[in-house]
Each structure stands twice: as C-alpha cells, then as structure tokens.
C-alpha cells in the first residue's frame, strides 16, 4: 500500500504524460505480481463496485470526528469529492501506519467489506482500516472503496508502461490485456510473458474467447479534400449504436462491447444469427435498434444494454441488428494485416451465407465519385437516422486504438437551441468547488408583451449540460452564479435567469419523464450568447416543432 500510494503521489504531482508513464514503469518493475495485478486493475479504470454504502462512511466519519451530519455535507459540497472529504476530515494521527500491501488491502479489507453484511461491522472495519493507514493512504483507500480512483491516465498509457516493462510493443500488450482480465498474480504473469495467449501472430495460440483490440476512428476536422482522392476511401454511415465485436467459435458465440464487457446475453437474436456463420469468425460492427431496414432511436437500444438476460417481451419490442463493417478473423486466420478492401470482400462473402432477414447484416457502402457526393451523403444523414459518415482508407490494415490517418468519422452539424441558465450545481474532480453543472430552460410560450417583458412566461427546464465552456468562461459563470443565487435547495442553486447559451445536441425525442415532454440527446454548450437577453431565448414551441419534424421524417421514410 505504501508503494501504491507512492505511485499515486508521483502521478498526482505531475501533469506530464511521460512522467506518469515512467512512474508506472518503476512501480510495475518493483512490486510483486499480486500487487501489480491489482494496481493494473485500478489504474486501467476497473472498479470494485458496491463495497460499502456511502451512508456507512458518513456514519464512520461522524463517529470518529463527532461532527454533525450537516457540516460533513457542507464539507463535501466544498470539496466535491467524497473520498477526499473523508480523508480531510479524519483526525490527524501520530501513530505509525501498519504495513499492508495493496493485495492485502483488497482481500482483507475491501472485499471483506462486501462480504460482511452487518453495517456495524462494516463501520468498524472502515474505522480500523483508516487507523492503520497514513493520511495519503487513507485518501487512496477511500477513492478505491468509493469507486472514484482516477489519476489522469488512460488505459492506453497504462498499457504503454506495461509494454515497456514486458519488453513488447504496445499493440501486443493491448491484445494480451483485451477482454476479461482477472487481477491475479497468474494473469499478471501471463501479461508479462505472453503465457498461452501468444503474441502478434494470432488466435490459434491466443485465448479464443478474447476480443481483438478495437480500432477507433478520429473525428474529421479538416476538409475531406485534404484526404486525397475520394476513390481511396470506403464510405459507410456513422451509426449511433453500440460498437461491438462478435466472436463465433465452434462451441459458442460471444459479443464484446468496446468497454471490454461481455454483452452476448443482452442480444440473444444476434448470437442466434451467428450460428449460421462458419466457426472461428470474428466480426466488428455496431449494434443498433433496427426495424424495417433503418435505425431506431438510441434510447430504445439503451433499454437492452446492461441487461444480462433479456425478457422475451423486450426482445420483440426492441428489435436489434448487428451491422457488420469488418471481419478480423476468418476460419481462424487473423486478417487484420490485410487491406480493408480485401477484408470487406471476405465480409460480404461470409454474410451472403446468412438468410436475408438475419440479425447480422453488412453495413451498406455509399458510393461517391467526388468529395461533393460525399458531402451530399452526409447532409442526408438525418433522413437515414445516422450521425454522419465514416471514411476508411481502402488500403488500410486494422489498427489498434485511435491511430490517426486511416479511419475518420465525419459527423453532421448538431441541432442548436438558445436556452437560459436556470439552475446550477457543483462539479466534481477538476471542477470541484465550482458551479459547473447547469440546467437550462426555454420559455413555455412566445413573448406576447412586445418586448415589455414580464408577461408571466415561465422557463421550462429542457436540458442539463456541463461541457463546452473554457476554464475562463466556467470561472465567469461560476462567479455570476454566486452573486445571482435566488434560492438554495440543497446543492442546487436557483439562479437569476439572465445568461443565454446556445446548446448543441444530436437528437430530440419525446419523453414523459421530463416536464417539457421531450428530451434532447448529448446537449452541450456550444456558445455563450452574451449578445442575447434572456427574453430572446427560444420557446418550447421551437423544440416541439423540431420533434414533430424528426418524427415525421422517420414515418415518411418507412
């Protein structure tokens, strides 16, 4: 635990990626495999969830500090991070911390918390552990048990450090690490040596259930003309679904999400359709709520996600399809080094063996002779219920991670609405102590007072957003909120309706859970409209009209 805390401190004290990676390298070289395994587990963003209810932590800190409940909450609001609040409130101790390794901490304390049911015993174990640790160790421990351990590294960086320690390329390490990974000394040792997973070569030696690392597209920022000639590119729709890898073996079919979660159980019809494929086929694609040859809103798909077993009703209610756009393995051969154009041909051959109504379908290809043809396709995205277009270089191999240059996504411009800031709440992490989470409203009806204001219109909340502003703007808005709070309701400030923001969003759908009767998807602050007064903001009618028009589009197309 000392060494892991030391790593936390080293990474916490630098903003430089190279230093963070170097600190991880040193750590992994020094510690025994059983500790390294857990460190890797946490550093790569994995979490032990639901170890202890936060109420128990509240009780424990109240007991040891004799502080009233409300001041603990006030402190939390000021800090913005519960784990850190607990560490700051804990009385400074003078006793030497106990020697306890990370793997011991996990097994003897954290996992035990989950297994003991009585809250009294949980509280006692928490207090005992706090006593056994020094102040920074307590902070790290608290972050681990509240599933809030973050040190500003991505899995890619952790893999880079591990690759150096194991003396292999990051791509090989990424493959060894893909899929389910158990934080044990054995599996860590296998990461280091390759074990029975094999290296670059292929699935014949690899663990057959594990997914290949996903290749990701970059957003296209430059004009497409910069990509050379349009004939070098394969063009597909950019779907708003769930990226997934389908692994079909002799005995089983597994579907992995990009978050390395096994999601086969949620999509039984896809697994069923895969039975008609030859064994040892691996497909890359997008799972989409799908009906009559077109996508349904993402919200419908969400009802299926995160369910291990799906009731039959939901299955028929929300039909889905696996829209395949790549084949990574055919008859047990790793195709990733072959050019896309060849892989796509093989994909079409494979899928032609399936019945026409199968839940696995090839992603349609779009043809474009010129870049302006491509732009036309992109502009038609909304009619096809997609988010834009994908550009993939025909000659490209299947890479690892988000490597620039061969795969691009070119999304359509979002919808926008001008809305007024009405509520604010504190942020967390980097934004703790600042008001950064905002709720925006639009007017319930048009202004009929001809600019005299005050005709009793009301602002109806339509969206929550917290991204899109610069740090400077956040500070300005934060200051405005502090000075213009009309009312405090717990952590929420009701703010004088004065600031207008242009919100961008990707889609709009009816909702009976929201007062406005509609919900907008992926809202973010596009611009602070300092040039607009609150009365100039949009009305609910504008959004309702937009909602009607998108629903009509959907109907007409069918």
């Amino acid at each position: 635990m000392q060494r892991f805390t030391q790593l936390f401190i080293e990474m916490d004290r630098t903003k430089r990626t190279s230093e963070k990676v170097a600190a991880m390298e040193r750590y992994f070289r020094e510690v025994p495999s059983e500790d390294a395994a857990w460190a890797l587990y946490f550093l790569s963003g994995r979490k032990l969830k639901r170890l202890v209810p936060s109420g128990i932590l509240h009780d424990a800190i109240a007991q040891i500090t004799s502080l009233p409940e409300w001041i603990i909450s006030e402190s939390y609001q000021s800090v913005g991070d519960f784990a850190e609040t607990l560490a700051l409130l804990f009385p400074q101790s003078r006793s030497e911390p106990a020697t306890i390794t990370l793997s011991q901490l996990v097994s003897d304390r954290m996992l035990r918390l989950r297994s003991i049911a009585a809250s009294k015993n949980q509280r006692a174990l928490i207090l005992q552990t706090w006593n056994d640790l020094d102040s920074t160790q307590r902070l790290v421990f608290n972050k681990l048990i509240t599933s809030n351990f973050r040190v500003g590294v991505t899995q890619t960086l952790v893999i880079r450090a591990l690759a150096v320690v194991a003396d292999v390329t990051p791509a090989i390490m990424a493959h060894r690490f893909a899929g389910t990974w158990e934080p044990t000394a054995d599996s860590y040792a296998r990461l280091m040596t390759g074990g029975d997973r094999g290296d670059s070569a292929g699935p014949s030696i690899g663990d057959l259930a594990q997914p290949y690392p996903f290749y990701l597209a970059h957003p296209l920022m430059q004009p497409p003309e910069d990509l050379g000639t349009v004939n070098d590119w394969q063009i597909e729709w950019k779907y708003d679904g769930l990226r997934a890898q389908l692994i079909h073996r002799e005995q089983s079919t597994l579907i992995w999400s990009r978050g390395d979660e096994l999601i086969s159980g949620a999509f039984p019809e896809i697994a069923e359709a895969a039975a008609d494929l030859p064994p040892n086929t691996v497909l890359d694609g997008e799972i989409i709520a799908w009906e009559d040859d077109r996508p349904l809103p993402f919200a419908l798909l969400q009802r299926r996600i995160n369910r291990k077993q799906v009731e039959a009703a939901l299955w028929t209610d929300v039909p889905v399809a696996f829209i395949a756009f790549d084949v990574l393995e055919e008859n047990g051969n790793d195709l990733r080094e072959q050019p896309l154009v060849d892989r796509r041909r093989k994909l079409d051959e494979l899928l032609s063996q399936l019945p026409p109504n199968a839940s696995i379908k090839p992603a349609p290809l779009l043809s474009a002779r010129t870049w302006s043809d491509l732009s036309q396709h992109r502009l038609a995205s909304r009619e096809h219920s997609v988010e834009g277009v994908m550009l993939k270089r025909l000659s490209s191999t299947y890479g690892v991670g988000r490597k620039r240059g061969d795969w691009w996504k070119w999304k359509i411009d979002p919808y926008t609405v001008d809305a007024v800031l009405i509520y604010a709440q504190g942020g967390s992490g980097r934004r703790s102590g600042l008001f950064t989470d905002y709720t925006f409203g639009v007017w319930d009806r048009p202004d009929e007072s001809q600019g005299n204001g005050g005709d009793g219109r009301e602002l109806v909340p339509v969206a929550k957003a917290y991204s899109g502003l610069t740090d400077d703007e956040i500070r300005q808005v934060d200051r405005f909120i502090r000075r213009n709070t009309i009312e405090k309701r717990g952590p929420v400030r009701i703010v004088k309706p004065e600031l207008v923001f242009e919100l961008a969003f990707e889609a709009i759908q009816p909702s009976n859970r929201h007062k406005a009767g509609l919900a907008i998807r992926f809202p973010r602050m596009n611009r602070w409209r300092t040039d607009k007064k609150p009365e100039d903001a949009d009305t609910l009618e504008t959004l309702q009209a937009l909602l009607r028009s998108t629903m009509r589009e959907n109907r007409e197309e069918r």
Binding site: D12, R13, T14, K15, T65, L67, P68, W70, I71, E74, S75, S78, V79, G80, D81, E84, T85, L88, L89, Q92, S428, G429, R430, R431, S432, G433, L434, D471, R475, D478, R482, R483, N484, K496
Partner: protein, 356 residues
C-alpha cells in the same frame, strides 16, 4: 443603547468612539487591521494602525495618507473608548482591535493565524466579551500541517527541480505570503527571483528589520543564467502570463490554504499545491474562540453561515457580520489584489440589483 460595535454600510462602526474598523468606503477615522486591499481602503481622513505595519500600509494608501501608528498592547482614547491593537499573526503589522467602553470589551480579529511566521509578531488571544472572528477557512476540512513540514516539502521540490533542470515557479499572494516564503525557504539552494508586484513591498519589510534573503528582479541576463536552478516567486495573476515563458522549462506550484483541496490545485493547473495559509484553520478557530472567553461570537469573512451554525449548536452564541467581501470564502482561490479592486463596483451593483 446601540451595541458598542455595529454593522453599517461602510463596515464595522463604533459610535461611542466615532471610528470605523476596516471601512470599505472613506470615513473620518479608520482603524486598520492590516494592509490587504480588502481591509485597507483608500480615501479616509485619518488612519490608525499598528506601528509595525505603517510602511506596508503606506505603500497601499499612498504617501499623503494620515496614518497614526501605535505599538501593540498600548491603548489610546477615542472619546471615552479605549482602543488598543494586538498581534494577529496574519502578515507584517497585522493587528486585532480591542475596544473597551464602560467595562465592556470587544475584540475584532481581522485576519489571523496561529502558525509561526518569521515575518510578523505571533498571534495573542485577546480576552473579551464579544469576539468578531474571520472564517475564511471555517470548515473542518481545513486543518493545517506545521509550516516546517510544508517548507521541507518546498525545499525538496526545489532541489528535485534543479536535478531535472527545471525552474521552480511558486505562485503566492504578493503581500505577506510571498515574504513568508522568502523568510522560510532554504535560500542556499539557489538564486531567488521575485516578480515586481512582490518586490515593491520588500523595502517595507527591510524597514521593519525582517530578515529576508537576497532576491533578484527578472532581468533577461539573470533569467538566462539561472534557468533550471532558480526559484521564482510570482503573484497568482502571473499564471499563464508571457512573463513566465522566459524562465524556460519549469515546474509550477501554488502556495495557499485553498490547496488543501485537490480540485483547486488541478483547476489552478499547477504541478504542486503547498498548503500554506495566513488564515486560521478550523481547530485554531475553535481554540481561539475558547481562549478569548467571549460569550458572544461574531462571524465574518468566509464560511460565516457554517461557523455560526456550528457554534450555536455547541452552546456558543454566534451571529453573522456581513462584509463587502462576504462571499470570499466561497471563491475558489484567494483572489489577488487587482482582482478585488477590479470587481468592487460590479459587486455593489449586482448586490443592489438583488436587494431591490
């Protein structure tokens, strides 16, 4: 009969003695606790301050201001009121104000801290009936480590940066904190460069015979020759300024009580946060209140609601005194001085709007 000290539009006012304490608008007679711009405002006809703080105060109020200095613990009469000043331990010349009238004693803390600071006299609790205390860090998450420990860390950080050939940049409040760092850091490690906003107060410290190590202004030749070894002390307003670029590869740090919370440090976008405050922490606040023996506590400047509620729940009669800068405790970082001056008018207008 009005209370001995009242809250007015211009600040705390003693009617019996006809003087204000730290008024934020010009008055006839102002008693000043210390020279920070949210306490010492320009334009009053006469000022009273601790003798040791006259020089720094003058650099704030201008050469023509009528400032009378009195030694700590010596009282003077104002009408029938006895007024004396007592060390507050906040910055050079910072004072608490003791006001006595017909046997009733009030203590006004100004800003204060209990930690040792070689640049000012140590805080002394003032026995009183009513004590008005600041509450900038009035939450139990704010409990300070000893300054020795913080300065050990700071020295170590400077040495490590030298090993990596990086210039060390520390952001610190220009008056008080910067000089406290100068007086406490191990100056044998390397050359120290100070920003002009800090250098302008150094003469006053010299006049007060506060021992500070030699420092240099940031002239191009010196900057070049000390890259990778120097410690640069700059006010927070210099963050991201072009002035900093000339120091080459650097590691940055912020020295402030606000650094207790990691989110603040990350938002300040610095590598290190040194928790070094010139304000009293939670434990110190409670122990000081006990030490004064006061039966009534006024809470001002910071987490006023929270401290007053806590005291009332613990059997101590407490109430809130608003100041022009009352929301300061909620500000993410100690505002630097220019910022306070800049936003004054805006503040008042906004407040009026809300009140109306």
């Amino acid at each position: 009969m009005p209370e001995l000290i009242q809250q007015t539009e211009r600040g705390l006012y003693c009617e019996a003695g006809d003087f204000h304490i730290d008024p934020w608008q010009p008055v006839d007679r102002a008693v000043i606790t210390h020279a920070h711009s949210d306490h010492a405002r320009w334009g009053s006809r006469a000022y009273l301050a601790a003798a040791g703080g006259i020089e720094v105060l003058r650099s704030r109020l201008g050469p023509d201001a009528a400032i009378q200095g009195i030694p700590f613990n010596e009282s003077i009469g104002m009408n029938d009121v006895r007024v004396s000043l007592h060390p507050a331990g906040h910055i050079l010349g910072s004072a608490q104000v003791r006001v006595e009238y017909q046997g009733e004693v009030w203590g006004i803390s100004g800003d204060y801290k209990l930690q040792t600071d070689p640049t000012c006299d140590a805080f002394e609790p003032v026995a009183c009936h009513t004590f008005i205390t600041e509450s900038t860090f009035g939450l139990p998450i704010y409990r300070w480590k000893g300054p020795e420990e913080v300065f050990d860390e700071m020295n170590e950080w400077w040495r490590e940066n030298q090993e990596r050939r990086r210039t060390s940049i520390i952001y610190a409040y220009a008056l008080g904190k910067a000089q406290r760092i100068l007086a406490s850091i191990d100056a044998s490690i390397g050359p120290i460069i100070v920003h002009g906003a800090i250098a302008r107060f150094l003469g006053a410290y010299e006049a007060a015979r506060i021992k500070l190590p030699p420092t240099h202004p940031a002239d191009p030749e010196l900057v070049k020759s000390t890259r990778g070894t120097a410690l640069v002390i700059a006010p927070p307003s210099a963050v991201n300024s072009p002035w900093l670029r000339k120091f080459g590869r650097q590691s940055s740090a912020y020295a402030s009580g606000w650094m207790q919370v990691r989110g603040n440090r990350r938002r300040a976008n610095v590598d290190r946060g040194f928790v070094l405050s010139d304000h009293v922490d939670w434990d110190g606040l409670l122990s000081t209140i006990r030490a004064t023996g006061a039966h009534t506590i006024g809470v001002t400047h910071g987490y006023t609601d929270q401290v007053a509620r806590y005291l009332n729940e613990h059997g101590i009669n407490a109430r809130i005194y608003h100041t022009r800068f009352s929301d300061r405790g909620e500000e993410a970082l100690e505002p630097d001085e220019s910022e306070i001056n800049h936003t004054d008018t805006e503040d008042t207008e906004k407040n009026k709007e809300l009140d109306s």
